[in-house]
Amino acid sequence: MLQYILRRCLISIPTLIIISIVSFILIQLPPGDFVDAYISERLIVDGSINDVDALRASIQAELGISDSMIVNYFNWISGFPKGDFGYSFQHQKPVSDLIWGKLGLTFLITFVTLVFTLITAFITGIISAMKPYTLFDYIVSFFGFLGLAVPNFLLALLLMYLSLDWFGTPFSGLFSPEYLNAPWSMDKLWDALSHIWIPVIVVGTAGTASQIRIMRATMMDELHKPYVDTARSKGLPTYKVILKYPVRHAVTPLASTIGWQLPELVSGSAIVAIVLSLPTTGPYLLQALQGQDMYLAGTFLMMLAVLTIIGTLLSDIILALLDPRIRLS
């Protein structure tokens, strides 16, 4: 098992390198760079600057970047083993000082959403499959599809407006004012969890629908598997039969969705975070991309990809734990 995990990690390394290259090229694609944008702004404020080249050279020297994308890339990537992800031009800080908090919150939202969608899908999927083509089943699938159909950002916007209408305060942010700048503690975590439901609902809707469908479909399949008949023929009560066999089997495909669900959730939380002003990676990434803050944007992209790779890894490990065939064969 340990060997398997190690090997999976090793396989991820070339993937990560390619991801880092792709991320870097992507953020470098737009014409111009941060220096250009900065100079433009300086020129608007003070139109009398005539030696633009000198200004550019000076800023480049300060930021430690060169015209060559390759040089910049190697400067950036060589710092990774040391935990140095380069320098954020916009924030005038090392990238490593900036990202962890946001990634942590992104992870929190993603994780809670994942748990939420899995639990919802698990329960409703079982009931739907046990009572297919009933009112409950239809309602579940209708709301599931609806969740799939309503764009996340719209839902976020509406919920934000409605929360003002209903509770007199708009939903935004993840914390109550008293915890905003407080250091992390159990109370703050609890506070965050009590605020997290809107983003979780918004991000979770789309994923839940497809997961319910997966759970329901596999449950329906599994319900007709011969081993369920075997279990029934033993005289076990229905709930024992269902929980021990079809449910246990249907959990595996559900767990395997974690792998591809994660990137979706991270995406979803990005766009929702932008609408809801959540202090997660989404808005910062957008800002960094638009401001061509290349090391920051690149590191964010990279870290999100790493997050999803870790997710896939975890999902594989969970699968192996759930299914002895993977574990032992």
Binding site: P30, G32, D36, D46, I49, E62, Q90, M160
Partner: protein, 620 residues
């Protein structure tokens, strides 16, 4: 009765026998011995502010919503400021004098003034700021226009601890107003020598500095220095300043805040050390929609909420629930929110486009072909004014005639003028063909995401369709839009005019002398680089440039106004820039608990700030 006494006391203030009062929170600190007494903190001659309505009460936090990066802008303390009547009022400097040749400014600082950490502020700081920072080519490769004239930087002369002189090569009567309006450029109030010298080569050893840089996870000493100096954003809560409130949060915190400067150097007429309000807080980021929602929920005490006039209605409707009043905040300096700039320097393939754009008749025809009333109704909900791209009529040299020239829609006349230019033939889509018989297309760039431009572009295109002119409206990402403007090869841009009060502030709007000029970018480059690059000035542009030089050195206000008027007349007749609409005000909210707030609110940007924000107070 009591107020009278206070007023009498004020007269004796200069005698230094006054006993000042301070905020209760500071008294606690004083009693604990952590802070010197208020008398020792204030300068010998603190600036006395007359509260707008009444003497206020200490306490409270001013909840704001403006984005973080503007902290420096709305906190800045100029040397001298202007009051409502545009008269000079001392500020950092107790007094100033301009020499007869208009070249030398002599400022006298207040004696005994201190930075927010208690260290004294005097000409040593000024010297450091000017010679070691502003003129440091490592930090600023070219000298800011604020500090240069005739191509040379002004010279700083320190007279004594409180007095210094700034001498320009040529007459430069506008420094005061310029430094008022270029708040981002005037950084003396955040340049304490005793703090910043630790991060500057020459003051510390290279090895020591190198260690500091690498400890901070950076690679270049300038990264660290700019970080310490809060150059591009609030990155350093430790930087001593001369501001009313001192930024004191970690820059990554979600809720940002600033607390009172215990050494703030202003008092009210009752001898209370200002400010009344304990501090400010604002979110690190706030999406436009969140700003409105927060305002509606009464979670903003006072701030501009939106740039869109149309958001007024929603805010107005929520006044009762949110316990605030909706006000219009004026952007007094902004002349025109929409200006169409035909590029006089366009030298691309389409010579017909070039010919037409250089034709005064064509530009006039365009101008009277635009339905500004409709624009006003839609973009400014009828509150704006159709106007050419000239300074406000109320400003020195401004006039209604210049402002309203060629703004009345006359389609028949416009068509007549276009026909006269030879644009008589039309294609099968009813668009005019060029005189050469070829398709005629004008490409107009505008900045993506700028709502006014996006909506204006649609409306403008419809107007041009009516004239039979094929306009292609191209929305460009901000940075690329700037690049296009700098390149100078575009046909037209749709943008704004940022100078409504004085043509010298934002001279690019009127004179081909600076970068970011939209109607003659290449000639501007030529002027700016003294002929090194760009295109030689045409006679009419040369005339404008000459006016610019004269105005720079003109100290006589009347002559100044007369010359400005002549320039504006040239613009109104030639329409190098075709103005569409004046700026309208932005909706802002003022909480019912905010007191001493003036009736008329100005935007922070390039204007004399919130009026005496230190005398606002909060009363539940």
């Amino acid at each position: 009765m009591k107020r009278k006494l206070i007023a009498m006391g004020l007269l004796m203030g200069s005698l230094n026998t006054w006993a000042y009062q301070e905020a209760p929170s500071l008294t606690t600190l004083v009693n604990k011995g952590e802070l010197p007494s208020v008398d020792k903190r204030l300068p010998d001659n603190p600036m006395v502010i007359t509260p707008l309505n009444e003497v206020g009460k200490y306490g409270g936090i001013w909840r704001r919503i403006e984005p973080n990066y503007q902290f420096h802008e709305w906190s800045n303390e100029p040397l001298v400021t202007l009051d409502d009547k545009q008269e000079y009022v001392p500020n950092l400097a107790e007094s100033f004098e301009l020499s007869a040749d208009k070249r030398t400014y002599r400022f006298t600082l207040r004696k005994g003034m201190k930075w927010s950490d208690g260290e004294p502020f005097d000409t040593e700081d000024v010297d450091f700021w000017y010679n070691n920072l502003e003129l440091n080519s490592d930090l600023e490769p070219s000298v800011k226009s604020l500090f240069s004239s005739g191509g040379e930087p002004a010279k700083l002369k320190i007279i004594d601890k409180q007095t210094f002189e700034l001498t320009y090569k040529e007459a430069n009567p506008n420094f005061i107003e310029m430094h008022l309006r270029s708040t981002m450029e005037f950084r003396l109030p955040q340049s304490p020598k005793h703090y910043l010298k630790d991060y500057l080569p020459g003051f510390v050893s290279d090895s020591e500095l190198e260690k500091k840089v690498s400890d901070a996870g950076m690679t270049d000493w300038r990264q660290l220095f700019h970080n310490r100096w809060n150059t591009r954003a609030n990155t350093n809560p430790d930087l001593p300043v001369l501001y009313t409130w001192v930024y004191n949060t970690d820059p990554q915190e979600l809720q940002q805040q600033a607390i009172r400067n215990p050494y703030y150097w202003k008092v009210d007429t009752a001898g209370n050390q200002l400010p009344y309000i304990n501090g400010m807080s604002w979110p690190l980021t706030a999406e436009p929609q969140v700003r409105i929602l927060k305002a509606l929920a009464g979670e903003v005490d006072m701030d501009r909420i939106s740039k869109l006039t149309s958001d007024f209605t929603a805010l107005k409707k929520g006044e009762k629930q949110g316990k605030y009043k909706t006000r219009m905040m004026e952007l007094d300096d902004h002349a025109n929110m929409l200006v169409l700039f035909p590029n006089q320097d366009y030298d691309g393939e389409d010579k017909e486009v070039q010919r037409l754009m250089r034709s005064k008749t064509f530009r006039q025809a365009l101008s009277i072909g635009i339905d500004r009333d409709t624009l006003n109704q839609i973009l400014g909900i009828g509150l704006s004014t159709p106007a050419q791209s000239v300074i406000l009529p109320s400003s020195p040299g401004g006039s209604v005639e210049t402002s309203s020239a060629y703004t009345k829609t006359d389609l028949a006349k416009a068509n007549e003028m276009l026909d006269a230019l030879g644009l008589t033939e039309r294609d099968n889509e009813k668009y005019r063909l060029g005189k050469d018989g070829k398709n005629l297309t004008f490409l107009v760039h505008f900045q993506a995401g700028r709502k006014i431009s996006e909506e204006g572009a649609i409306l403008l295109k419809a107007d041009m369709d009516k004239l039979g002119l094929r306009f292609i409206m191209r929305s460009d990402e901000k940075s690329y839009f700037e690049q296009i403007r700098r390149g100078g090869d575009y046909q037209m841009v749709l943008h704004n005019n940022t100078s409504g009060l004085n043509p010298l502030f934002g001279a690019n709007n009127y004179f081909p002398v600076m970068s970011a000029n939209n109607f003659a970018p290449k000639q501007s480059a030529y002027y700016l680089s003294s002929g090194q690059s760009g295109v030689k000035l045409t006679p009419e542009m040369a005339t404008l440039a000459k006016y610019y030089e004269e105005l720079l050195n003109e100290a006589d206000k009347k002559v100044f106004a007369k010359k400005v008027n002549e320039v504006m007349k040239l613009h109104a007749e030639n329409l190098w820039a075709i103005g569409l609409l004046r700026y309208t005000a932005s909706p802002a909210v003022v909480s019912n608990r905010m007191k001493n707030v003036p009736k008329k609110l100005y935007s922070v940007y390039k204007s004399p700030f919130y009026h005496n924000k230190e005398q606002y107070y909060i009363s539940e």
